[in-house]
């Protein structure tokens, strides 16, 4: 179909080649050490296609004030909570997958060859440049496809495991493929992935958010699978074939067979590679039981390596330490690890991040003694110019080290050093995935809250939250504690809106903790901050109301998540915060009465532990003419049987009547007189007094009187 355009394509290639030749020639001149006029330009440095882009990118640091660039830069589309971050990124990827599905499903429609379309031979036509393979439809292999060995090569090169197995079967299986090298590379593919389709590299977000897919440390090798069959069918088993199958088995913890094959190969005099021995070293734990036997086997294997004349490399060290750290803790293993590291140092092999990760696992046990090896490790790593990732477990280092800083050593200085190391250069890619990143920051923020200065903590929080990291409820509690200790009322008021934005405002315990913190540092705040705190408190109660309504609506559909009630203490805290106003007309009084109503209707869990707060509030309310609120509070106290009810009602009456306390008490002896002279709403206070006096915890009497006082209080409020 495209035969008629081969010539122009070739021609353009030829011109391109000519151009490149001429440019090379042009560049050759300066390379001669000295020219006649004494000017010697530096020799040409070969640049890759993305070098300029990388140089440009290195001029811009990370911007913590903006959302990650995978999110769309629009206020409506920027996620602010963990849930949203995950949901948005994954939905974008779902859309991408939908498009890819359409492309593959209707591959016949996506055959436009933009880079060299047919029928464009007559006019000079400039093809889209460069041709991007990722945008071309994938071949789909099914039972009807006719395939060649080229297809098998292609699928193997692109690590399309299931496709390659299909093609292999279509080619006639083990007997069908004659090419030894092709068979070997197919065997390598099978061994590496254990005949399981790997997660596609294309779906980055899925990999990033696939929380905690820790590979199981169990013998997952498929016994008698295709790999085994292919290996058995190889008539001439070379060293490469042995290395492949042994490494595959060792990687998937089929230790016994791997060791058997290893012995077989050694007996036959087939040389094995260093990586094969590395794999074997990594799975000793599956071969032997008991520490002493395992240590012996480890030493034996290392000796065997020496016999074979193999030099160990960094990976050897890593797999030794991996084995040792998996066998538990204890002095013996720690010493062994130390010995091994020293010996490798002598050989000039520096431990990598994975080795250090295993070392941390070995030394810093949760309940073990505090051993500070992290500072030594950090000093070593800081000296290195660049941390080069070599192993998948490299990404475990930073999270584990930060965990050690936070739980084991509780040292903020080390944490800061570690964070500086992570932020240095290109190291941030070693943070792992979303799950590891969030744990890393959880540890970091926790240790900062507990041990860093307040200024440093707030600075850290301002840079990290919310774009880099959104605190989980436990971390938020830690933050609230820190803010409370420092007395930062402004930030506490902000913390409430953060709770709402982060989607954790329905965590009752957290909200209660926040209210308590607000109450504790309310007194010594300036007036405008006090107002902010009051606003936050009234917001908290309104937020509850809103969800109540929603629940009533939602109840018809499903009643899966019963809303937890705020405790009575929280209500008392709200009352205490919001009653601190100077004016009768302040809207905060509505919040107070709402809180009291909830207390009265038993909508708050438990009873307040500090009833004095309510008693004090009653007096303030009475002094401002909010008699209804005062009466409700006193009545509630009396109904609950608090002994503060009686003196409080006497004092409140004193405030209402503007008389000293003794006078009120004498007046209270003659009930009738007072009832005649008093304002109806003040009568409710009187009721509360008598209720408290009679020790009226009987609910019947209380409810009957309270309903009366309800009416009265409501009328008085209207006045």
């Amino acid at each position: 179909m495209y035969s008629n355009i081969i010539l122009p394509t070739r021609w353009s290639r030829f011109t391109c080649f000519c151009r490149s030749l001429s440019s090379i020639e042009g560049q050759k001149l300066p390379q001669s050490s000295k020219s006649s006029d004494g000017i010697s330009p530096p020799p040409r440095i070969q640049r890759g296609p993305t070098d300029i882009l990388q140089a440009l990118a290195s001029t811009v640091g990370p911007d913590p004030t903006a959302a990650h660039y995978k999110y769309h830069d629009d206020p409506y589309l920027i996620p602010l909570s963990n849930y949203r971050k995950r949901a948005y990124a994954l939905s974008a990827e779902a859309g991408r997958k939908a498009a890819a599905w359409i492309r593959d499903e209707h591959a016949e429609l996506f055959t436009t060859r933009e880079w060299d379309p047919p029928g464009k031979t007559k006019t000079p036509y400039f093809n889209a440049d460069p041709k991007i393979d990722a945008f071309t439809p994938r071949p789909i292999y099914n039972d009807e496809s006719t395939v060649t060995e080229e297809d098998l090569k292609h699928t193997i090169q692109n690590a399309l495991l299931e496709d390659s197995v299909k093609v292999f079967q279509l080619l006639g299986g083990i007997d069908g493929v004659a090419d030894y090298n092709l068979k070997l590379s197919f065997l390598q593919l099978l061994c590496f992935y254990n005949e399981k389709e790997p997660d596609s590299m294309e779906w980055l977000e899925e990999r990033w958010f696939s929380a905690n897919t820790r590979d199981r440390h169990a013998a997952t090798w498929k016994l008698g699978g295709l790999a085994d069959k292919i290996f058995a069918s190889l008539e001439q088993k070379t060293s490469e074939a042995y290395c492949t199958i042994i490494q595959g088995m060792a990687k998937h913890y089929q230790a016994k067979r791997a060791h058997m094959l290893c012995q077989e190969a050694i007996e036959q005099g087939i040389p094995l590679s260093t990586s094969t021995f590395n794999g074997l070293l990594g799975c000793i734990g599956f071969l032997k039981e008991g520490t002493s036997l395992r240590v012996e086997a480890l030493k034996q294997l290392l000796a065997q390596m020496e016999e074979q004349g193999l030099t160990p490399n960094e990976e050897t060290l890593t797999s030794c330490l991996r084995s040792i750290s998996a066998w538990g803790g204890g002095k013996i293993l720690q010493q062994l690890a130390q010995q091994i590291i020293i010996e490798f140092r002598k050989l000039g092999i520096q431990p990598g991040l994975s080795a250090y990760y295993y070392l941390l696992c070995l030394y810093c046990k949760e309940r073990g003694p505090r051993i500070d090896i992290l500072s030594i490790i950090l000093t070593d790593l800081e000296k290195r110019e660049k941390l080069i990732p070599q192993d998948v477990t490299d990404t475990n280092f930073f999270i584990t080290a930060m965990g050690v800083c936070s739980d084991h050593l509780q040292n903020i200085n080390l944490a800061e050093r570690l964070h500086a190391l992570l932020m240095k250069g290109d190291n941030y890619k070693l943070v792992g995935d979303a799950y590891k990143e969030s744990i890393y920051y959880r540890h970091f923020v926790t240790v900062a809250c507990r041990h860093a200065s307040f200024e440093r903590t707030t600075q850290l929080l301002d840079t990290l939250v919310p774009n880099v990291y959104v605190p989980e409820p436990t971390v938020m509690e830690e933050i609230i504690k820190t803010l409370e200790v420092a007395g930062a009322g402004d930030r506490l008021a902000q913390a409430w809106s953060q709770l709402v934005v982060f989607g954790i405002a329905n965590r009752t315990k957290l909200v209660e903790r926040l209210l308590q913190a607000m109450c504790n540092c309310y007194e010594y705040q300036s007036d405008d901050i006090k107002a902010k705190i009051r606003n936050a408190a009234s917001d908290i109660i309104k937020y509850g109301q809103l969800t109540d309504e929603e629940i009533q609506n939602a109840n018809k559909q499903d009643r899966r998540s019963p809303q937890q009630k705020l405790s009575a203490d929280a209500m008392a805290n709200i009352v205490a915060l919001c009653s601190d106003v100077k004016e009768k007309s302040e809207p905060d009084w509505d919040t107070v009465s709402e809180a009291l109503n909830r207390l009265k209707r038993n909508e708050a869990a438990g009873v307040p532990s500090k009833p004095q707060v309510l008693a004090d509030m009653a007096q303030t309310a009475a002094s401002m003419g909010k008699l209804g609120i005062a009466a409700t509070a006193l009545k509630y106290l009396a109904e609950c049987g608090f002994e503060e009810a009686m003196p409080a009602s006497v004092q409140t009456l004193g405030v209402i009547l503007n008389r000293p306390q003794q006078d009120v008490e004498t007046m209270l002896q003659q009930r009738g007189d007072l009832e005649r002279t008093l304002h109806p709403s003040a009568l409710a206070v009187l009721d509360a007094y008598y209720l408290a006096k009679s020790g009226g915890t009987s609910r019947d009497a209380a409810s009957s009187t309270s309903s009366e006082s309800d009416n009265e209080s409501s009328t008085s409020d209207d006045e």
């Binding site: 769309h72 589309l77 996620p79 949203r84 859309g95 997958k97 939908a98 498009a99 400039f126």
Partner: protein
């Protein structure tokens, strides 16, 4: 209310397209007539003719000088909503508003002229169809190297999650179709009213 406005806007954009189309048809009709006429006069092959006419830049549409394309007629009730882009007639391009397609194909020795125009139209239709009833503005197509950036203003009528799905879908499908990276640069507004500049 909103949906009706959007519908109105869409109808108007269709009107605009048909107007443009008519204009082009008339233009080509005149042009071909002229060609025929010249062919009668001389015996040169037609292709040379074509080239000479293109070079001489005769404004063949002069008799139809009443410019109607890209302009909107005032309604009786003065209730036709116009965005800023619609409110400014074409002669304000580069003065008050800018182009809807950004590329270098129309420069001297520009590449892929017709392909670019066609692809841009395809992108516009794909966007309005995929973001159905959501696009509130013209779709701006900007090309840089082999990278196409598509900008638009959309309504916040669907949840952000759905928007992200559409974003990913549009980007991936367009880049597979056009064989080059495509990036969407969207802005969101609360309702179509937010982009209405005036009513005529």
């Amino acid at each position: 209310m909103n949906s009706s406005l959007v519908k109105l806007a869409q109808v108007h954009s269709y009107c605009k397209v048909t107007k443009l189309y008519n204009q082009i048809r008339i233009f080509t009709y005149l042009f071909s007539n002229l060609l025929l006429f010249q062919n009668c006069l001389t015996s040169k092959p037609p292709l040379v003719q074509w080239a000479s006419i293109a070079a001489s830049q005769i404004h063949t549409s002069a008799p139809m000088c009443r410019v109607v394309s890209g302009k909107y007629r005032i309604t009786k009730k003065r209730d036709r909503p116009l965005t800023y882009e619609m409110a400014n007639p074409p002669h304000y391009i580069a003065h008050r508003k800018s182009w809807n397609s950004w590329n270098t194909s129309s420069l001297k020795d520009g590449l892929r002229r017709s392909e670019t125009a066609l692809e841009d139209e395809f992108i516009r239709r794909f966007m309005t169809g995929t973001w159905h009833g959501l696009t509130c503005s013209e779709i701006i197509v900007k090309r840089q190297f082999n990278h196409i950036r598509v900008a638009a203003i959309v309504r916040r009528a669907v949840s952000p999650t759905k928007m992200y799905f559409l974003l990913g879908y549009t980007e991936e499908l367009l880049s597979n179709w056009l064989q080059c990276p495509v990036t969407l640069e969207l802005q969101t507004v609360d309702s179509f009213k937010d982009v209405v500049f005036k009513y005529i």
